[in-house]
Amino acid sequence: MPSQTIDSTPDATSDAGGSRQGASVSEINLGVVKDLRILNEDGQVNADLEPNIADDELLRLYRGMVLTRKLDVRMLNMQRQGQMGTFAPGLGQEATQIGQVYPLTSKDWFSPSYRSFGAQMWRGWPIDQLMLLWDGYFEGFAPPADVNDMPFSIVIGSHVPVAVGIAMGMNYQQDKNVVMVNFGDGALSEGAVAEALNFAAVYKAPVVFICENNGYAISTPIEKQSGVDHLVRRGPGFGVPSVRVDGNDILAMVSACSVACEQARRGEGPTFIEAVTYRMSVHTTADDPKVYRDDAEQTAWEQKDPIRRFELYLKSRGVLTDDDITRIGDECEQEVLAGRESFRERSTANPHEIFAYMFESMPPELREQQAEYFERLARKGLSEPNQ
């Protein structure tokens, strides 16, 4: 970005002073926020804004987006064939997803909402585990040992104060790490998210809020969700430096999120990022968008496809050929299929596990209930695993 900072709230004293002397109607300037796009829909780059990213890194980003889409399509397909539970596709949000986690180190934390398997894969969640998760197995929720991520949140907004708390913990321990937390346009209406924004501002917590504005909360369009034209206005209202980003532009996402992370590491506190994108698919496999939006709108957004756009850029930059596109596509497809294989091998439910991990040590009243439950299972011929 031209100026390497995200800030929106002009210095207080300037106007506060004015209004406090004599009788007057002075004005308080609410400031401005940037609205960032680097790649346009035809893949043309704005040279002044183009971030300096090495070719192999650009390809890594591209691969991450392609892998995300391949998994998306596959899981939808599996669900339609009854091989997968209710699932929330992220079709069209690949740049938003990969762009937000790109700047994170393994010491940083990531707290996603449920529509985030792309970012989760990037962070190190194995494909088979994400499949287990969506197909209703306990194991799915367990963050891999070496990954500083929270299990994704299904309760809209409830993870956001917790993410701010992790960032407050970093300040407490004087670590220079960052928390990245994402949520949707609908989630921004939850009081918990408002309280989280305020806490982050008050404690200068090193947290980056990614509001993935994909146009809808299930059937509810953004116009019915909020009284502002641009959700980015919410951040400055809490004193959180904010920026609006074209969420289908991977370069814009990467540079905005990188700046936000650097600011956080420098102790400058939180950033709020509105990533403007579109949910190209169903809300979940239980949803039918035809009921509430027309195809025309969807088709219009196909022109803004984040992967297509990035491909055009990479090709014009000479980093990517049509053969590469095919090869990478196949590699990703194979990776997904391999994941599905191991998912199928691992997918055996263990009903004896439902009493596990309630407390560090199980209190007597729970032991009693567990015994009763195990008897019930035994009557069904389900014997206790030797544990």
């Binding site: 929720f141 299904i154 309760v155 809209i156 009081g191 299930i218 509430y292 439902i354 009493f355 019930r376």
Partner: protein, 327 residues
Amino acid sequence: MPQLTMVEALNLALYQSMDADDRVCVMGQDVAINGGVFRVTKGLLDKYGERRVFDTPLAECGIIGTAVGMSVYGVRPVAEIQFSGFAMQAFDQIEQNVARLRNRSRNKYPVSMVIRTPYGGGIRAVEHHSESREAYWAHTPGLKVVIPSGPRNARALLQAAIDDPDPVIFYEPKSVYRAFREDVPDESERMEIGKAQVVRPGDDITMIAYGAMMRPLLEAVDDLVDMHDVNPEVIDLLSIAPMDTESLVESVRKTGRCVIVHEGPKTCGIAAEIIARLNEHAFEHLIAPIRRVTGFDVHFPYFQVEQHYLPDGDSIIEAVNATMAFD
């Protein structure tokens, strides 16, 4: 009489109550153009328009709080919480305003509103979508809590809840939504809130349940009658608060034995309260300890194993036989 599913019956109830009273409005997440994620409010927008049927922002505390305000101004909101687990986001509004406003305004501002919400497991839903925490509301003074078990009583109870001058938490057993059809008369019906129903008379043991648990219970009853030669009296609670203590006591005074079934966690659940009341009012008649077949004090499990967690016919039969064997 048309054969309706519970979803269709609830939908019919809303049509009929909205037809009868312009003050009745429907609000919540995705209730308008989408007709609700379970389609309970389907078609209402087309018929009654945006004034009376509207989507809300994604904010449960805001939904319930504004519904209270509308009721203060004479509107009668039927507010939907998309899944009962998310009523926790509105707990403050429910406890501090919905339940109290009549009292704290010294009767000037009664809160006549309904909070509709699907509860319970059994539909392979994702995490946080299968809770049954009706006991929270039963423990909260000032609320009525109603849970239907089939299409016909669902329609009649929802219409009664909408008419009720006090706030009603209306828990809808989502596993029953489309599970079976039932004759539902065309014309409006009302069932009195606060009354339980003896759905099967018997002498040996009193079996009590409500909502989704009536189905495994009735399965168990067939087996008990056919194969175990037990003659149970079956009571569908229907109204959790107020509770029809009298009917329960009367039955247990006759049978001397009792098994209670619910899906929610065991500790401080509805069954505990029923046991306490039976202990107070039918002590001398009790022949055996009253048994609870309930959810466990654990989080509702992910869906691959939910069927094991939920009380089922087998576990209910087991409890009844143990109770019958006691002396």
